[in-house]
């Protein structure tokens, strides 16, 4: 079909994927997906987590071999079985994660994966030349581990652009960038597309980004091509509907999909806020609570300081208070100390200096389990790493942080565990075949409900939710939002650690912005605009 269109135009598309299918066991990741990218076009590839975007691009890059389908470059069929072949056919990719090697220098990373002899000076000169052409300045001899997220992104771009790709794929490129850095990135993309006739595939789950930066958009849903159209002929709500497969309300879902970012947030955000805060009875007084009763904030962090093993400052005199019944968001770009704070509040690491007070009492941070005993529940950022044990049953996962409550002197009390598990599965609407099913068999959203159910069942004073909706589908996000509001309404102090502006705006009553390990400002949500937050995120006072 697309082939015919190309012939009538008299031009051949830069890249054509035809009928790409890939299944992993019973799971169909891609089902006969077609995709056509013209020269000089930015092609948005939109879809929820698990919709097949990543698999499709891995096929294109030779990292995964498809079960069926063809790849055509400039009208000719090509075989791509290795990343080198992909590079040879003019395909380049900027990966979301896992593609820079931190202890190596910039030039070593740029040279990695190419054949032939290594020529340090030539590579360094190239890095500088490409950097100068696109305005991506970077020191080629710097070690990557010393670079900021934005600078690393530059290295990735330079690495891809140096090989002069005809089609460049960007996978979620702005997830670690500040708003200013994202703008700069899209500037570079525009130049490289318009002036040099490249095709670009921009993968994103952020609607605002897709509508602003692309010419054509393709939506994938559950491995199938769900929608394809010129970006100018569609709208964000329509794309959201195509992506999710049903109508999307401008509430939690809208926020989750990035629908609410506009130049005038107040207007668009108001319904979200109304919806968000109506569930919290103590809405207006919440921010004042700490002031009214000084020193009794449910959670108070004082002067937390922590340096990494390499001497890098991860947390720098961090102060923050969260009152009972309040949702405070800690917002910032990934890699500015949020993960460290999450680990610290999980009791995984102790700070070099500073104190954590829960309900007015200091917690002995160097003692394992002290935070949990003091009433801090945590939804960890990476639930597979520190939240759950995938091969243990739902029931075991539901009780594992509080085993003392479910065991005698020597033996576990099976009946008590099962009763508690049944109750939590019921109360939190966890969809599982049985409480004995291994957690691995549950969907991501239901795994996250298990974590949430477990943490809330311990009746915490404070709930720390680190990226609680990361990797979840829209329905699960909506549910998570409702449950966090419910928890706050029942008197839990909620600290939401998030990198998603929309999530923060939809849930929190106050937003604390973190940059380079310190709080650069705390705003009431009514005073927060993307611009002000953006400046704080970049480390400037707003």
């Amino acid at each position: 079909m697309s082939h015919d269109r190309a012939r009538t135009d008299g031009s051949v598309p830069a890249l054509e994927l035809r009928g790409i299918s890939k299944r992993y066991g019973p799971v169909v990741a891609c089902d006969a997906v077609d995709l056509t990218v013209e020269r000089g076009e930015v092609h948005g590839l939109l879809g929820e987590n698990g919709a097949g975007k990543s698999t499709l691009m891995k096929v294109l890059m030779g990292l995964v071999s498809p079960d069926a389908g063809e790849i055509h470059r400039d009208g000719a069929r090509v075989e791509v079985h290795t990343p080198q072949q992909a590079a040879g056919h003019g395909l380049g990719m900027v990966h979301q994660h896992f593609s820079l090697i931190e202890p190596l220098t910039v030039w070593e990373n740029v040279a990695l994966g190419e054949p032939g002899r290594i020529d340090r000076d030539a590579v360094c000169a190239d890095v500088e030349a490409v950097g100068a052409r696109y305005g991506l300045t970077i020191d080629p001899t710097a070690r990557v581990e010393r670079l900021s997220a934005g600078e690393r992104q530059r290295v990735e771009l330079i690495k891809a652009l140096r090989r002069d790709p005809k089609v460049l794929v960007l996978d979620e490129p702005t997830s670690v960038l500040t708003i200013a850095e994202s703008a700069a990135l899209f500037e570079v993309l525009r130049t490289s597309v318009a002036a040099e006739g490249r095709g670009v595939i921009l993968i994103s789950h952020k609607l605002a980004e897709i509508t602003a930066a692309t010419d054509v958009v393709t939506v994938l849903r559950r491995g199938r091509l769900a929608f394809h159209c010129r970006t100018a002929d569609t709208s964000a709500p329509e794309l959201a509907r195509r992506m999710v497969g049903r109508d999307v309300s401008l509430q939690a879902e809208g926020a989750a999909l990035g629908l609410v970012v506009t130049d005038d947030p107040a207007k668009h955000l108001s319904p979200v806020l109304a919806g968000g805060l109506s569930a919290v009875p103590a809405e207006p007084p919440a921010p004042q609570a700490p002031a009214d009763v000084p020193g009794t904030a449910a959670l108070a962090l004082h002067g937390l300081r922590l340096a990494g093993p390499d001497g890098r400052v991860l947390l720098d005199s961090l102060d923050l208070e969260v009152a009972t019944g309040e949702i405070v968001a800690l917002y910032g770009v990934e890699g500015n100390g949020q993960a460290t704070l999450g680990d610290l509040l999980s009791g995984l690491i102790a700070p070099d200096a500073g104190e954590v007070h829960v309900a007015g009492r200091p917690v002995a941070l160097d003692r394992p389990g002290a935070l949990h005993e003091a009433g801090v529940g945590v939804i960890p950022e990476d639930r597979h790493r520190s939240g759950v044990v995938l091969d243990m049953s739902v029931a075991d996962n539901l009780v594992m942080t509080d085993l003392r409550r479910y065991s005698g002197r020597l033996l576990m009390r099976r009946a008590k565990i099962r009763a508690q598990a049944e109750e939590l599965v019921e109360r939190f609407a966890i969809r599982t075949p049985s409480i004995d099913a291994p957690l691995r068999t549950l969907s991501g959203g239901n795994q996250q409900r298990v974590v949430l159910a477990r943490e809330l069942s311990a009746e915490p004073t404070v709930l720390v939710a680190a990226q609680p909706t990361h990797g979840l589908d829209v329905g699960a996000i909506e549910d998570m939002f409702a449950r966090l509001r419910e928890a706050a309404a029942s008197g839990v102090a909620v600290l939401l650690i998030s990198t998603e502006l929309e999530e923060v705006m939809a849930l929190a009553s106050r937003i604390a912005v973190i940059s380079s390990g310190r709080i650069t400002g705390v705003l009431d949500v009514a005073d927060a605009s993307p611009q002000r937050l953006g400046m704080l995120v970049g480390g400037e006072a707003a």
Partner: protein, 302 residues
């Protein structure tokens, strides 16, 4: 008087350092690629045996030396394919290889007869007459192979594309895979270099220093090499310094009684290992360890 004693101890220290240094070149490279190769002990022991067996059969210790390296390579091939092709835990593979080599060489030593076979000395005239450091220039000739092997190892790791890819694989195999490097192939290749070097180290011990093979003759020197790599914080210079430290401790152990110092002989035998243990405790938390060291890599797993 003390110059003579010093010269003797230094000479002995150098001779005992050399087998460690050969193996350390291999272990260093393997660890940079992400394999903490504990079968270096088995590789050394099999190399030592192979060198004597072939050396006494052919009558040429030089052929024996080469055979030692080849036997080390064969052991490495087994280890590499088991741990980096069919993904058996590398420590389990290493343990099995070490035990197997020890048992097999003991058995063969009992069932076979070997004649003495030893490579010749190489004395550099003039230089060898300098007091104290002169001992550097009066060694069994394979000692001077180190002058070739050490810079070559450094060059391979730090200057070639192969070495860059090895380091990438040792630090972040997922990223290396994405850029198109065959992670497990590089790790297998690194292990093979380790096998050749360790085999050579073992062969130097048998046909170089002693001239014959005796039961369990490496006696944990492979583990000392691993300690030396940790001591050197995964840098070649430090690793070699570590080897010299352990070699010197070993030499002192042998020299102390003849110098008139009375010490419990059992304690003396344990001394280098105690030193190795101390060094590991002190250096184990070094942050320069390759980040993917002893983490297996399988595609698609994150």
């Amino acid at each position: 008087m003390w110059l003579d004693d010093g010269g003797t101890v230094l000479s002995s220290a150098l001779r005992l350092t050399a087998p460690l240094a050969f193996a350390a070149c291999g272990e260093y490279l393997a660890e940079r690629a992400g394999t903490l190769n504990i079968s270096v002990e088995g590789m050394m022991l099999s190399g030592a045996f192979g060198a004597v067996a072939v050396g006494s059969a052919t009558g040429s210790p030089t052929v024996g030396l080469v055979a030692g390296a080849v036997v080390g390579l064969l052991v490495a091939l087994v280890h590499a394919n088991l741990s980096h092709r069919i993904q058996i835990n590398t420590f389990v593979v290493g343990l099995v290889i070490n035990t197997l080599v020890l048992g097999l060489t003991s058995f063969l030593l009992q069932t076979m007869e070997f004649s003495r076979t030893q490579v010749g000395m190489l004395r550099i005239p003039g230089l060898a007459d300098i007091p104290l450091v002169g001992v550097l220039f009066e060694q069994r000739w394979p000692f001077y192979l180190l002058l070739l092997v050490v810079p070559l190892t450094w060059f391979l790791v730090n200057r070639t594309r192969w070495g860059l890819e090895l380091r990438a694989v040792g630090e972040n195999p997922q990223a290396a895979d994405v850029t198109g490097i065959k992670v497990n192939l590089r790790r297998r290749q690194a292990l093979m270099w380790c096998g050749v070097m360790s085999g050579l180290g073992g062969a130097y011990l048998s046909v170089g220093l002693v001239g014959s093979f005796n039961n369990n003759m490496t006696a944990g020197r492979g583990f000392i090499v691993i300690a030396a790599v940790i001591f050197g914080a995964w840098r070649l210079k430090g690793t070699l310094l570590g080897c010299f430290l352990f070699g010197a401790a070993d030499a002192l152990r042998l020299a102390l009684p003849s110098l008139g110092v009375e010490l419990n002989p059992q304690l003396l035998v344990a001394a280098p290992y105690l030193l190795a243990l101390t060094v590991m405790v002190l250096m184990a938390r070094s942050q320069r360890e390759p980040r993917a060291l002893s983490k297996p890599f399988e595609r698609g797993l994150v």
